[in-house]
């Protein structure tokens, strides 16, 4: 685990993740206090990445639960392998086993399919795993209440088997794009952190670090345009993920510098709504390219 907040920052940097002091502080506290981390922010600011990088830094397994509407216990926690159970039944039929025997055989761990949350509880590596609960805002409210229970004692009860308790409680990272408000009770149990868009300098460093093939000048220009677009009146401003995709795209096109034509051609990498593309194309693009050129 980490010795200090500085150590967090350095360790994440070595995994090519640049984080500010605020994020480093909450990560440090989460590992020290064993509290879940609740990361909220616009799409593409690197929320999910935090969990991935943490797993790499701590040299442990990343267990990921992608949330979606209708996510239920069968997909999040465990499920019985019904098809195999039925096959097994057919085999046992010949043996005229008693009902108790059948039940005992069918509901044994052999037929249990562990989904991410159960996997996190059962994990028996040398290090606690990192459990990423991604985009919780997509799941139903019912799932939040379930999660609340799980996060308080890290144990799961399976009626046919008994209660399973985590040997090492996982380091939990919950992310939300805030498409809806997640219930306060859940956030209160966590260390809450809102990830903002980065400053020019930070984003430039990120581009240099993540797309090292990009020429220094191109990296500066790309960052400048992304930063400017976030100030423009857009339905969906680009995230860091888009900036990086864009830098890679321009590198793939053999660009070492940005000009208006290249900007117009590749706007679709940065902007994901037709209205936004239309707004920027033309005069705005020319102005952006001109400003970027000055960088």
């Amino acid at each position: 685990m980490f010795e200090s907040i500085d150590a967090v920052q350095q360790a994440l940097y070595q995994q090519r993740y640049i984080c500010d002091r605020a994020l480093a502080t909450v990560v440090f506290l989460a590992t020290k206090l064993g509290k879940p981390l609740f990361l909220e922010g616009e799409a593409g600011v690197g929320k999910t990445e935090v969990a991935k990088v943490l797993a790499a830094v701590l040299d442990t397994r990343l267990i990921r639960l992608q949330c979606y509407e209708g996510l239920d216990v069968h997909n999040a926690v465990y499920e019985w392998a019904y098809a195999r159970q039925i096959l097994h039944l057919r085999i046992l039929e010949a043996s005229h086993a008693s009902r108790e025997q059948l039940e005992h055989d069918l509901y044994s761990p052999e037929f249990l399919l562990a989904r991410p949350l159960l996997q996190a509880i059962q994990h028996n590596g040398h290090q606690a795993p990192v459990l990423l609960i991604d985009e919780i805002d997509r799941a139903d409210e019912e799932f939040e209440s379930f999660l609340l229970e799980l996060l308080s004692d890290f144990q799961i009860t399976i009626p046919e088997i008994g209660t399973l308790r985590a040997a090492r409680p996982p380091l939990v990272v919950i992310t939300s794009n805030r498409t809806r408000e997640v219930h306060d009770a859940l956030k209160r149990r966590c260390l809450y952190h809102w990830i903002d868009y980065p400053s020019f300098d930070t984003e430039y460093q990120i581009v240099r670090l993540k797309v090292p093939e990009a020429a220094d000048r191109l990296a500066r220009q790309v960052t400048a345009v992304a930063q400017a677009l976030r100030q423009a009146d857009l339905y969906k401003p680009p995230g860091i993920a888009e900036t990086l995709d864009w830098a890679s795209a321009l590198v793939a096109m053999g660009r070492t510098e940005l000009d208006e034509a290249a900007l117009n051609d590749t706007l679709g990498v940065l902007l994901k709504y037709q209205e936004d593309v239309q707004r920027i194309q033309g005069a705005m693009a020319r102005e952006l390219a001109r400003q970027a050129h000055a960088r």
Partner: protein, 399 residues
């Protein structure tokens, strides 16, 4: 923040000092609308032993991670933090400080959305009516039907006296407001035969018959009411109607279904938190305080744009219905209006527009704003008397 205020030195006396300060700080935060629990504070106190609190930034980030749960709260928190930990406040002068805090026009933090009561209340439980078709036709008739009511039913809201208004408010509350349902991906178990087997139960039941699969269990998708977003015009030309329409929004809010409410004149204001008061008069008073542009001009386009950009992706989830109430008299930019109504139309399941003028015998939707939006509107309905609200209720339930 002078270090001596918080940095504990060797003795425990300093730590007590820190704890006392934290308690005062928590009280200050509660005063401006934060919910701070004792357990949060004790967790925070524990966390503060892990960081070097002589470092202002570390102290600040740690405190923030425990006490702020919403980006909207951050600004208020920062100001409170600055005021308090800079030592402007001795605890003996807390009261004074709180006043100073208000004097710097520090608005109470908006109660975060998440503090809402659960969005789905008891209306639809396990045994709900089948999808789309309510089991019993919703009771949409305005209850009493003898003659004074009959007159009131068809009387234009604009001509209501205060007394009639109170009566109308009651009638609106009594209408059964139900929003149509949509199929969710969540499966629930049912007794009836459906197209989808519930395997866990089927296997379990088979055990009773020594593994013979005879008794099949079924599921079907659970249905939930669609989220409803109401955006109501409160500009000058709508003035005579807005007092009734606010009551309508209040009634919708209290049906236990997910409803978000906004009003606009020249700017958009979210009034969902205000409408949450059970008592309608308190709620209306709160709305009046929250809204800065009563009975002024109208900029529908601008307001819809604010809605689309700031709220759209958050409140228009999962097959939402949008209900706009306006007469369409727009003094703003029509091109913008067209663009934003089109975007809104693409983000919702269905777009309804209520116009109080519609239904007056000689009304034609000639206002330019109305002309602009009509192509994007799915249902164009009147909202000028109680009878028309009854029709709205049945429309909402049947979509």
């Amino acid at each position: 923040m002078p270090a001596e205020h918080v940095a504990p030195r060797a003795g425990s006396g300093q730590e007590d000092h820190l704890l006392a300060n934290l308690l005062h700080f928590a009280r200050l935060l509660r005063g401006v609308g934060f919910q701070v629990s004792v357990s949060q504070l004790s967790d925070l106190a524990e966390a503060l032993t892990l960081v070097d609190i002589a470092q202002r930034a570390d102290f600040y980030y740690t405190t923030r991670a425990f006490l702020v749960h919403n980006p909207d709260e951050r600004e208020t928190f920062d100001r409170a933090f600055d005021l308090f930990w800079r030592g402007l406040l001795e605890h003996s002068r807390l009261q004074l400080g709180r006043r100073a805090l208000h004097a710097t026009s520090l608005k109470p933090a908006q109660p975060p959305l998440s503090r809402q009561p659960p969005l789905i209340a008891g209306t639809y439980q396990a045994d709900e009516p089948p999808l789309g078709v309510p089991e019993t036709q919703p009771d949409i008739e305005v209850p009493p039907t003898y003659s004074p009511w009959e007159i009131l039913r068809h009387k234009d809201f604009a001509a209501f006296t205060d007394e009639e208004l109170a009566l109308a408010g009651q009638v609106i509350e009594d209408i059964t407001w139900r929003v149509s349902q949509r199929r969710t991906r969540r499966q629930i178990r049912v007794a009836k035969r459906t197209s989808r087997l519930h395997l866990p139960d089927t296997v379990r039941r088979s055990l009773r018959l020594q593994g013979e699969i005879v008794d099949l269990a079924y599921t079907r998708p659970k249905a939930k009411p669609r989220p409803l977003v109401v955006i109501c015009d409160i500009s000058g030309s709508m003035e005579r109607y807005s007092r009734v329409l606010l009551r309508l929004m209040h009634a919708l809010q209290h049906t236990g279904q997910p409803v978000e409410a906004f009003v606009f004149g020249t700017r958009l204001t979210r009034i969902t938190p205000a409408l949450r008061h059970k008592d309608v008069d308190t709620a209306v008073r709160e709305v009046a305080e929250a809204v800065l542009d009563w009975s002024g001009g109208t900029r529908i386009g601008e307001s819809l744009k604010t809605f689309n950009y700031r709220w759209g992706r958050r409140v228009l989830r999962r097959g939402a219905l949008a209900l706009i109430i306006s007469d369409g008299w727009d003094r703003g930019d029509l091109a913008l209006l067209k663009q934003e109504i089109a975007r809104l139309r693409r983000s919702v399941q269905r777009l309804l527009w209520l116009n109080p003028l519609l239904g007056t015998p000689d009304y034609q939707p000639l206002a330019q704003g109305m002309q602009t939006v009509l192509p994007y509107v799915d249902d164009f309905l009147p909202a000028r008397d109680l009878a028309s609200l009854g029709r709205l209720a049945s429309r909402l339930a049947s979509l």
